[in-house]
């Protein structure tokens, strides 16, 4: 009889760090290929459209990069939080409140033009950070499960936003639930002429570098990891767990808030119902695919940006529902999780004979 069993590995080899996400993605694409077939399309053709359409012209490449910016930031937000085992599933809500903060500042007539962009960034990040600090406070003070609160807070902020868009921020002319536009001089500068490549993209890349530096070289980064790995040991080592988790939440929420600022100030110039297409939830998949490594989040976010933008083109030309992109995200999260097993375990095949 052949028996398979998991055996602990002593060390993870470096090549696995790259091989595992790739293997997980390939497995995902194979599995989801079955769905394309069920939808009545040619699998290779559909994938060809999906991947090429996002990259077949300079315009589309830039659009894919622009789309990746909020994903990098929500991915970072999740990665920082998960490192401390603060289960922040609320990046979606923190994104929305960040976008609202930016629009609130960007529509103020009294502010001097030079102050708008920095104030929008600061307000949006602070709003996101505080929104994440609430569940962190409930977790550390009242032991309330953070998964549930962060999820529920997403709904609260969404309905709050809709009340705002339906009330004080309602466009009196169109009657649509769109906020007023921000001032022209509050719009993020464009980095590449005649494209939509805005300041937010640069901020996302800088944030990835900064978070990498924070997690790797600072005491706070060390404390975040220590609390996540073993809170009791971290407390013995003199870390104030409550403080570390609160700071983690502020950073995490701030990053998600910044994603919202970028979308509001760099792309839409307003807040509307569909401003986030599940960026917060996609951030979870991205963070896991990157194994919570801040630098790995950039390519992972680009990959999902390709999937999300490419899925629309694929849907138009082959008729496969655009929701394939959502299935790919869920499947990728699972395959990556399984792939991660191989970093700490190996499968040992042993043969045992029946006596």
């Amino acid at each position: 009889m052949i028996k398979l069993r998991l055996e602990q590995r002593e060390k993870t080899s470096a090549w696995l760090n790259l091989a595992l996400p790739i293997a997980a993605v390939l497995a995902t694409l194979v599995l989801c290929g079955g769905l394309i077939k069920i939808a009545g399309a040619n699998v290779l053709e559909a994938y060809a459209v999906l991947f090429s359409s996002a990259l077949d012209s300079k315009f589309n490449i830039v659009e894919t990069i622009v789309k990746a910016a909020p994903l990098v930031l929500t991915g970072l937000a999740v990665a920082v939080a998960f490192r401390a085992k603060f289960w922040n599933i609320g990046a979606e809500g923190q994104f929305l409140i960040g976008a609202m903060g930016a629009v609130f500042i960007g529509t103020q007539e009294g502010l001097p033009a030079w102050s708008l962009v920095p104030l929008m960034i600061a307000t949006g990040m602070l709003a996101g950070g505080l929104w994440a600090a609430l569940p962190a406070f409930l977790k550390t003070r009242y032991k309330v499960d953070d998964v549930v609160t962060t999820l529920l807070l997403n709904f609260i902020v969404f309905y709050g936003m809709m009340a705002l868009l339906d009330g004080p921020w309602k466009d009196p002319l169109s009657g649509y639930p769109d906020s007023p536009d921000i001032r022209m001089d509050a719009e993020f500068p464009i980095l590449l002429q005649a494209t939509r490549l805005h300041l937010g993209v640069l901020l996302a890349v800088l944030a990835a570098l900064l978070v990498w530096w924070l997690m790797r070289f600072t005491t706070l980064g060390f404390a975040i990891r220590a609390v996540g790995e073993n809170p009791r040991a971290a407390a013995y080592a003199g870390h104030n767990i409550t403080k570390v988790i609160m700071l983690t939440a502020l950073i995490s929420g701030g990053l998600a808030g910044l994603a919202g600022v970028g979308e509001a100030a760099g792309l839409h110039f307003q807040v509307m119902a569909g401003i986030s297409t599940n960026y917060g939830y996609t951030g979870i998949v991205i963070a896991m695919l990157a194994r919570l490594n801040p630098l790995g989040i950039v390519p992972a976010a680009l990959f999902f940006s390709i999937i999300i933008t490419g899925a629309e083109a694929m849907s138009r030309s082959t008729g496969v529902p655009v929701f394939l992109a959502d299935v790919i995200q869920g499947t990728a999260l699972m395959t990556m999780l399984i792939a991660l097993l191989f970093t700490s375990y190996r499968i040992r095949v042993s043969t045992a004979r029946h006596g």
Binding site: A39, L138, D145, V285, F323, Q329
Partner: protein, 314 residues
């Protein structure tokens, strides 16, 4: 104020409350079985959504509502097996596995709905469940119309609570389930298969969540919409905590939540209080968080919740 009270608290109000409670009761009890075995099933939101879709589609094509319910239960059970593969067999993070399951199931629900129905002008609908008046009982004043002139699934939900209590506390399987959730090593030493019990609990959990989802698309409404669950699954996770992992207390938590939800719907409709309707929609979520904050400090979750079990590791 009296006028508002009279307007709100009529027999119809309590009947509506019971209807709101029904899908939540199925899903909450489902979650309870999973958690008592030691597995947090965060797939709940996605399982409810996918089951709402499969149940509705099956009923649409076969014309049989009960086949729809069966399909929804099967969907949930299969999703439960998948959760088991990830968290029991592989011992992966229950948090991330559950979120992955929700994402996968939600994606599949939308994907297959489009594959099956395309993008029609008006959403397809079915002849949904009708209330069934129970003879004699339905004629009891007040209690009759509230409890005994309801959908058949409501009666099942009402029976489900004592049944769950019986199964958990009076049967050998229930004892095994609780032991696996509290002390898997003790269960293992006693010859109980931890993995088998957890798989069974997850399948049961998924099937019950499936009924909850299908109730929404087949009884409460007569069509599947993308927002048919909209957070109800997440609320159920909180209700289990608020119910302290016990069937009766969880049922009480569900009823309390349903009371609040029915109340906000009435207030919204009566338009006596002038606030945006979104504030009412928000209210159940705010109150759930407040409820969680009140009880969580003293909550005692199953000791082995979130802990994967591997025989050789202690």
């Amino acid at each position: 104020m009296d006028e508002i009270l009279n307007q709100v608290f009529q027999v119809g109000f309590f009947a509506a409350m019971i209807r709101i409670a029904t899908p939540l009761l199925f899903a909450t009890i489902g979650e309870l079985f999973a958690e008592r075995s030691g597995v947090l099933n965060l797939g709940i939101e996605g399982i409810m959504l996918l089951s709402a879709m499969t149940g509705f589609s099956t009923a649409y094509f076969t014309g049989s509502l009960w086949l729809g319910i069966a399909a929804a239960m099967l969907t949930g059970a299969v999703a439960g097996i998948l959760m088991g593969v990830l968290t029991v067999t592989f011992g992966l993070s229950q948090h991330v596995s559950g979120l992955g399951l929700t994402m996968l199931c939600s994606g599949l629900a939308f994907f297959f709905y489009r594959v099956i129905f395309g993008q029609p002008q008006s959403p397809p609908n079915i002849e949904s469940f009708h209330p069934v008046a129970l003879p004699v009982l339905a004629d009891i004043p007040v209690l009759g119309p509230v409890l005994f002139n309801q959908y058949a699934l409501v009666y099942f939900a009402l029976i489900l609570v004592p049944l769950t209590a019986f199964v958990l506390y009076k049967t050998p399987w229930g004892l095994h389930l609780r032991t696996v959730g509290e002390s898997p090593h003790a269960a293992d030493s006693a010859g109980v298969s931890v993995a088998a019990i957890r798989y069974q609990a997850l399948m049961l959990s998924g099937a019950l969540m499936g009924i909850g989802g299908a109730f929404l698309s087949m009884a409460q409404f007569n069509a599947f919409t993308f927002g048919v669950i909209s957070g109800r699954g997440w609320v159920c996770i909180a209700l289990v905590v608020f119910g302290q992992w016990g069937p009766w207390r969880s049922a009480m938590a569900v009823l309390l939540f349903a009371f609040i939800d029915a109340l906000q719907l009435r207030l919204q409709a009566s338009a006596v209080i002038d606030v945006p309707y979104q504030v009412f929609l928000m209210m159940p979520f705010v109150l759930t968080i407040v409820m969680m904050a009140l009880v969580s400090r003293n909550a005692r979750a199953p000791a082995a919740l979130l802990q994967p079990f591997r025989k050789e590791e202690r």
